[in-house]
Structure formats: structure tokens, C-alpha cells
Subunit: 336 residues, 4 copies
């Protein structure tokens, strides 16, 4: 049960509602986000919801039976749109393109990507500075120095930054240099990180786990939301399977199903989703038609020389064509 | 190594080629299809291919290193187009729509579907008369009586028929009433059935196995081709996974990858691919943009009353909208 | 609902029971096996089972709610034991060892295996003469000539034969030379083959599908049983997964779970289950302790020279040690 | 390439070795553990290893081609044994039993489990105080208060404690109350946590990821080792699959394969591995015969009342029987 409280509710009214919730045997979780003030009450007993609904201070009330509540479309029918500032918004009504290298490598590299994005009117750049790597001996990214450089160049060019955060202690140092925190597939159930991102008030793009279910992805988003942050995007990035012909199986089924289950934007990562450069465009276009609110993909001036993910990174020529075609596909979809 | 022989090659020239192939330690498999006459030679020794290529009677020769040969795009770059007669062709240059009920149920049911297809200018109707069912006590289809009725009504209306064949002994009785034999996911490695379909000269739509790899699908197609039948379509229909939110995971990655590996047409089955009616349209549109040569899906006048697969079958209103939108998406794709 | 009829029930009594079943809206499937005479009645209405149970001619009656009925342990608590003749029985109370090469290759090969088995008091030999191969150009087995040779040598040495059958038309030619028909993983849902094996009255070992669920395996067994053949063994042989370190993942969870769900014997194939020779012994021993009624594995005098499955085949020295240890493990298990 | 340095190597000798390694184009990672001092050098060039091996200060040198190095059995053939003090050792030569509730709930609960363990001469108790839960609204464990109580009772009874750590910041507060840190499946690629545990010098039990490969598990262990901690145990706990009959598929193939790839002890968790109480014993016994160095499982005085994982938790009567039988199976295995 979700109880939305009136903004600026007096303490005594809230206490009264909490008391009533407690009396029917429910446990209330208080959630204060950028947008609103909620009580999420968990319990099993049947009772007449109007009993709570008519209390003073209650703005709205709804029963939600899933394991996730606040992010459910049953609670909020209106799609969430996330404003990144300067006219950049993610969510229904836009098709968001986020592109850039796997890893931030150098000033020259950032500048070449930024120029490519500007030419194509793309406003969000991806690029990792902390890289999760299977081997402890592999390159782990440029770290904060790389991020500061990334930030400086993007600010000068009016480009927003999305980059991966890997642990709680990085949030504070990164937050001023980032527009969207990305949570990688390996951290999709790192609950402490999710809790802390819920408190951080910065938009979050949450990737589905390597073999994560949609239910787990939605519950992970509920972690963030229930700690106070409504600005969440979900990302389908391919699941692990027995098929050896590609790196992952991009599960586009997830797109329309997630769009129905939640009001949050759904982004697709075709680069990790197939893992093979030649097919990234086809999968991007398929993602558009499946109903995605955006894509995030890897591009680099010379993919062959990229420090990581070279085999799934498109060059600028390919990227330009993809962008153009995705926009045409999106226009067609919108015309339906 | 594939050696294409000249049409009408004299016996002594062929014998000479076979002798030379044998002398280099290769084993030759003779393949005579509707289109051409081949020797597929298997062996490991390195040698100069021109030694065979310049023999009299050889039309063309090529090394193909994959486990599948004749169906490889490395052998035949030109895409295969399959002519079903009366102006119905499957393969590049067309987008083929095949629709109809899971099971053939009655004359009235067939007529209602046929009318729906004609109104929308769809020329191929699907419908099962022999149904593979997990339980021995479930409805197994109307059998040959159903097929004859299906055939009569379709012929009167200039509609082609695709229907599933489950065993070798059915081929002969079905062949006069069928335009395309469908091999279901459970039979995708029923090698005897594949051998026999190779001899049957009727077009075949071959579904990927329930957890089949692309390699297995391609080798299954090679079975059919190497027994003399070049008229093969491959079908992606979803793979089994841990995800419980839908029946299968439609693997659209398979579409561009198969299109590059083979010259055969690639069809997508969004109905089985997601298994939930509300999302069939989204996945159909995604399939178009991924590069499919066609779709096969389930439709019924009153899906709620269908004998089988009710939960993944769209009604005619939904089907009509899907057809219209798929064609628009295909037109956009062709314009790229 | 399963209704066991009295042996030799007069026709009019049976008709009366069928009439009563039909009147309550159930559809009766008549099943006559080597052991008994049943009606399996399928329907949904609630009614008092005693109404049917007290009819003359009814020996026993039971509600079984699963999708499989006659093979359920809810119907028959007593474990099934399958008598292969000459003192060879498969099922609880024994631990059955079935060993031999992947493919039958030659008279000398058969003789060497037979000698090895006799020395170790193993009474059942495996060996394929019809081989399902992914590639149409691979060795497909010695066929009937191989089977006849296999049969002659085994008969002379009092060894029983288990070998794979791949299609309906092979049953008749093979039946006199075989003690147990094996249905391979790729044919685990070849329903026509299962139907025909139900009519064949010869014991059947049914392998789980490549990504088959236990439910599908049990329903496949129900196909055989419901066509008249109670002599069925189930076989766990590994499932397909994302893990590349071995050929398959041997799913020993299946053993105790199947043992509870069905009265049929459960056999484990560690050779395909892990696919790597060095670990076959460990997995065999684990299978014993998990509760298996037997194992089937691949052995060859010189595995390196085997025509197929060389990398998962143990030599006779390894086989001898495995047999000895499995028997010790089985004795320990029986002592519990 | 692993270079083991002589203990107490003078700085100038180390510098010289580093210089030589650098000159051949390799990047050296210095690793100082409880046991030894290593340089792990990563590079691709071929060169004569003796060139480095004969330098003063080098104790041993070895090429290791896998992605994991120090934990490889190719580097260290001798199995690792981890001494927890007071005569409790994990590793070859022992069979370690770790048992206890999913969650620590109360003093009475801990005392009942401790009494059960003492009666059966089990020296290691499991129990979670920080619980990873899919839903943010679920019980998340008793936290540090629970751990201190857990520690006090276990110390009084000479029982060692294994409990899960979920984030870097918990290590310091937990370290004095814990004998083995457990890393859960969801954190198996939480690299920052692994790094920090490498510095913590406390034994670590590392669970395989929910769909983790063996390669990923081994690389995760290498993270810990390369940060200075050699005291690592690996744990197979079931993998995610399509099979709905149980919670996970216990992958016992992993046991002999891991035992060959690494010198670290391998523990099996049958409770999560099958997730169904009735079958935990069968899978425990199978784990013993597959070659495991120990098991970790869930037991509770009244499983029905446990706060979490009730359906996979055995009661004390079942636990007692399991312990007795596992020891008999282990004795048999050791007699081989």
C-alpha cells in the first residue's frame, strides 16, 4: 500500500497516519523524494483502504501487490521524465541517444567524441573512468583525473555525462562531475550502492544484471526510489545464455514488458546486447521499434585502438548513420 | 570444399573429379538439388584448390570452413528467394507475412481467417493440423481431414499454406496439400525428418530448437539442402531462459547474424518469441527493423476461444494494425 | 483420474464405466500395458471419486493432478523394476551399470568391451549404431549390420544391449536385436517416436532433453506408458548452460526430485553430463550418492581412437576403478 | 608470469628484478601476502624465463597462462589449508561442515544451534546479520548487535563464525567478530569489496555468482589473493537455469574441475543449490563424493519459523543424520 502524503504535512497528522497504519498491522516505510512524500506500508491483512485514505494529510492512496511499489505503473500511470538540464530530458516524448567510448582514455579522445556528438546533435556522452574488470591485472580506468577532464570538456560543449559508479565511497567524489550515474550489470544487486544512490539525488541509469530477471531489476529500482530518488532509468543490456555466436542475448522482450510494469524510462544498450560491431545498428533500430526511450552505445574514432570493448564499438561513420536511422525509426513509431 | 558441377555433366567427367577428390584424401558427398549439382568434399589436408577447379566439368569451386557448407553465404552471396507460385515469393526484396491460428479447428474458423488475410493482402496462412503437445492427453490437431479442408478453402482464395510436419511418414500424405512444411522447435534436430524433407522438394520453414544454437540451426538446414532441397527458410522463435516474465526470449540478435552467415531467408515468430498477446506487435516491428525477411504469427477471430496458444494469439483488429505498421517499418528499412 | 480395471474385465462392465466417466464430463483414454488395464480420465469438474470407484470392474482409482498420471508416484508408490531377463533387473534394489563405446565400430572393438564388462560383472552394454550428428557429413553409425554383430557377440556373452533408436521406422528392424531402446536428448519430444515405443513393449531409456524440464521428461514418459509400455527408465544427462568449462551441466538435483515424483528408475549419464574424461568418475560417484538407480557411461579400449566422443570416454583401467568405487558407494548408500 | 621473491629481499635486489621485468616489456604487480612476496608480471612477449629466474632474490618463477595466476594449481600444486585456530582447519585432509540458520534471530536461536553443533562435533557456524534482500522492504538482518551476540556465544562454546559481508565499510566493524567473511553470490563481482577483503587478512569464502562462470569465480579469487590474502575458499551454490522444479541447479561438475584448476578449498552449499529441504541431504552426500572439501548448509530448530529461507532449511534431526552420513561418505572417499 502506498500512501502519498500532502506536501508539508504537519508532524501530528503524519503521526496519526503512522499510528493507524500500525494498528492494522502494517509496517510503514517513510519515503521522501525530490517529488513527493510517501509512506509505503507492508502487510498482509485485508482491510478497507478508505479507512486510511480519508485521514487528514493523505493526498492519495493505492494498493500495489507487486514486490515493487513506487516504481509500478499501477501506482503512477504517467511516464516519468527526467530533466538533465539545458533542455535535455529522458523519457517518453523524446528518444535519448547516449554514446561514447567504453573507457575515457585521453583529452584528444574525449574531444573527438564530443565533436562527433555535437555534429549529430547528441546531448549525452557515455565513458567509463572506473571500469569493472574480470581480471585484477587489467586496466581499471583513468579514475577521478579522467572524470574531471571529461567533465571540463563536456561542460564547454553543453554535453551531459553518464558514467559508471562502482562503490558507495565514489559517489561523493564523483557527484559534481556527473549528470547520470550508471550502475553496471555486476552491481545490479549491490544493495548498499543502490541505497546510497537513492540518497544522492542524481539521476541513475540502472542496468539489468548479467542474468537478472525483470523482477530483480524492478526491485533494484525500488531500492533507489525508496531512499528518496525518483530519477531512475532502467537499461536492458543483454542476458547471458548458452549461445556462443554473440557476447549476450539482447532481450528486447524486456522493453514493452518493462514499459507496462513501470513508469520509468527504458533504455537499451545494443553494444553489450550483441557485442559485435557489425550488428549494433540493426539492434539499435530494433530497440527503437520495440518501444525503447533511448539507447546507450559505444563509439570511438578508431575502435580498433580502443582500450576496451573494441570489438563492439562502432566508428563515427557508423554512429552517424545509426543516429540518423534511429531518428527516422522513432519518427515512424511516434506516427503510429 | 564445394564443387559445383556443370549441369548435365557426362558420367566420365564426374567420375574423374571424384577420383581426384579421393586422391587428395577427401570424401565427396554428391548433392543434386532443384537448382544445381554439387560435390561437397570433406577433408583436412591442405592443397591447391585450383588443382580441382580446373578439371573439366567443374562450374565453380570454393573452400568453406564452417560445419555447414552449401547454405553458407561464403559459398553463395546472392540471397535465396523461394517462389511459392502465383506471385508469392519469400526472401530479400519482399517482406513475407504468414498468419493464422495455432490449430486448424473448423471450416468456419478457416474462412474467417482467410477473409481477414485477403482483406489485408496477406498471401500465406499458418495453421497446425498435427500438433506437438507436451501431454499425451491433450488435443493433437485435426489431422489430414483438417488439412484437406484447410487446403480446399485456401486454394479457392489464392492463399498459400504453411503447416507443421512431425514425422517422416506424414510427408507423403501431406505433400499435395501444403505449400511450405514447417519443422517445429522440438524437431529441429530430428535428422531423419530433415533428410526426408531434403528429398521432398517442397519449401521448408525450419524453426530454431528450444535451446538451439545458430550453429545447430544452420547444420539442420544443411541436412535438408544436402539431400536435394534448396528451398529453406530459417525461423527464430525465442529461446528458453531463466526469465519467467514471458514464455521465451525472442533472440533478435539471431536475425542480422544469420543473415550474414547464410543466404537463406530468415523469418521471425513473435508469437512464440514472447508468448504474450499484448507485446506481439512490438516484437514484430522490432523484427522488421532487425532485418527479418518475414514474420509468422498467430491470429484468431476470438483468441480467448482458440483451442491452443490463446494467450499469445492476436485478434483480427490487432493483426490488421500490426500488418499495416510492419509494412511501414519495412518501407522505412528499404529506404535506408 | 486413473481408473485401474480388473484384469479380464468383461466388455459390458468396461462400457458401463466409460459411460459413467463420460457422464461426469471426463474424457477417458484407455491404456493397456504389459501389467494392467487402465482408464486415464481427463476433466476438470469436481465430483466424488467413490462414485466411479465402487463400479463393478474397477480395481483401483486415484486422482492425480499433475500433467503426468500413470508414471506418478502418487498413483504407484512401489518403485518400478524392469526385468531384462537372465537375472538382469533395473530399478530399486540394484545399481545398474551400463557401459560401452559411443559408437559401435568393429567386431574387435565390441569384443574388447565385452571382455572388460564380463571381467567386472557388468551386464548391460551401450553402443550406438544410428548416431544423431549435428553435421550431415559426419559418420552416422554402422547401422543394422553393426547392430547384428553387436547382438551376436553380446548374446554369446550373456550381455544385454542398450542402443539408440532415432525414428519410428527403425523400431521394427531393431527390436529383435535390442534389450533396451534408448531415446536420445534430441528426440526427447519426438512424440511420434514415443508413441511407437509405447506400442513396442521393449524397455526404453528416455533421456532428458538438451534443455528439457523435468516436467517435459515426465510427460514424455507418460506418452510411452499411455501407449502400453510400463518399462521406462529416465536418464539425466546434463543440461545446456552458459558455462563453457564443460560440455553440459550434470543436474544431479534431478535425481532425488525425479525419484519422488515418479516410480520409474532414474539413471545418470556422467559422460555427457560433464563431457570431460578426467571427471567422469567423480560425477559417477556423486550420482550414486544422489540416489540414482544406475549409470550409463562411455568406455573404449583406446578412447583417443574412438570414432566419436573421444574426449569424454574413459579407458578400461579407469572404468574398472569407477565400477569398483561406485559399488562401494552404493553399498554405503544402501546401509543408510 | 609469477616471480616469488625471497623473504626479506633487499630493496636493491627487488628494484633490479623490477627493472629487468620492465625491460622485457612486462608490467609487474607486487603482491605481499601472509605467506609470501610475489611479482605478478603481465605481458605478451616470448622470452626465456630463466633470464629472470636466475636473478638474485628470486625464489621461484613460473609461467601461468590463465587469466588467474596466483590461485592456479599450475603455480602451487600443494592444496591450500586454512587454519581458523583452535584446531579448526579447512582444506584437503578434512571435511569441513559449516551449518546454521539463514539469519541470526535471537540469543535463544543461536544457543539452540550451538548446542546442536557441539553435540555433533561441528566447529563452524553460519548465520547472517547483514542480509541481501531483493525487496527494500524485507528484513535485512540484525546487524552489528546480532553479530556481537553471535560472537559472544560462539566464543564461549569454541565455535568459529562465518557470516556475510556486503560492503567495504562493514569490514572494519565486523572483523573482530568474524572468523570467515562470506561473499555472497550477488557480490561475487563487487571488485571493490574483493580488493578490500584482500587487504583484510581474514579468511574469505567466496560464492560463485548467480550465473557466474568458473573463470569469473577464479578471477574474483585472484582479486583477493593479489591484494594480499591467500586464505580463500570457493563455494559452489547453484546456478540459475530455466528449470522451475528447484530454486537453482547445483552444479557439482564445478567441484572436480575447480579442484584441478586451483589449490584453494572448494565448499558446496546444498541448501541454496537445490532450495528444497527434502533433498538437501542427497545433494550434500553427492557433494562429498564429487570431491568437495566441505559443505555449508542451513539448519534451524524449527525451520517453519525461520525468518528467511524456511523452505530450504533442515531441522536438527535431519541435520544430525546428514552430518553422520556425510562423514561416512567422506571416509569412503578417503579410502579410495
Amino acid at each position: 500500500m502506498i500512501i502519498q502524503l500532502q506536501q508539508g504535512i504537519p508532524a501530528e497528522l503524519k503521526e496519526n497516519i503512522l499510528k493507524q497504519v500500525s494498528e492494522i498491522g502494517y509496517k510503514a516505510n517513510e519515503v521522501i523524494t525530490q517529488e513527493a512524500h510517501y509512506l509505503v506500508a507492508i502487510g498482509k491483512k485485508e482491510f478497507d483502504i478508505r479507512h486510511i485514505g480519508q485521514l487528514p494529510g493523505v493526498a492519495d492512496i493505492h494498493r500495489v501487490s507487486e514486490e515493487y511499489k513506487l516504481i509500478s505503473r499501477k501506482w503512477k500511470v504517467e511516464p516519468t521524465r527526467i530533466d538533465l538540464g539545458d533542455g535535455v530530458t529522458v523519457g517518453e516524448g523524446n528518444f535519448s541517444i547516449m554514446a561514447g567510448p567504453c573507457s575515457i582514455e585521453s583529452e584528444a579522445q574525449i574531444e573527438s567524441v564530443v565533436a562527433h556528438l555535437k555534429e549529430n546533435n547528441v546531448r549525452i556522452m557515455r565513458g567509463g573512468v572506473f571500469k569493472p574488470r574480470s581480471s585484477p591485472y587489467a586496466f581499471r580506468g583513468m579514475g577521478m583525473d579522467g572524470l574531471k577532464m571529461f567533465h571540463r570538456i563536456c561542460r564547454e560543449n553543453d554535453i551531459k555525462i553518464i558514467t559508471e559508479v562502482m562503490q558507495v565511497s565514489q559517489i561523493e567524489e564523483m557527484i559534481d562531475y556527473v549528470d547520470v550515474f550508471q550502475v553496471g550489470a555486476r552491481n545490479s544487486q549491490n544493495f548498499n550502492l543502490l541505497d546510497s544512490l537513492g540518497e544522492a539525488q542524481k539521476p541513475v541509469l540502472l542496468k539489468r544484471g548479467i542474468s537478472g530477471t525483470l523482477e530483480e531489476l524492478l526491485q533494484a529500482a525500488e531500492y533507489i526510489f525508496s531512499h528518496g530518488n525518483e530519477k531512475i532509468m532502467l537499461c536492458e543490456r543483454g542476458i547471458r545464455s548458452y549461445e556462443g555466436a554473440y557476447r549476450n542475448v539482447l532481450d528486447l522482450n524486456a522493453v514493452p514488458v518493462l514499459k507496462e510494469k513501470t513508469h520509468l524510462p527504458v533504455i537499451v544498450d545494443p553494444s553489450h546486447g550483441i557485442g559485435l560491431r557489425d550488428y549494433v545498428e540493426s539492434m539499435s533500430l530494433a530497440a527503437v521499434m520495440a518501444g525503447a526511450d533511448g539507447v546507450i552505445y559505444e563509439t570511438h574514432q578508431t575502435p580498433e585502438k580502443a582500450f576496451s570493448d573494441a570489438q563492439q564499438t562502432v566508428n563515427f561513420w557508423e554512429s552517424e548513420r545509426m543516429i540518423r536511422r534511429m531518428r527516422q525509426a522513432y519518427d515512424l513509431r511516434e506516427s503510429f
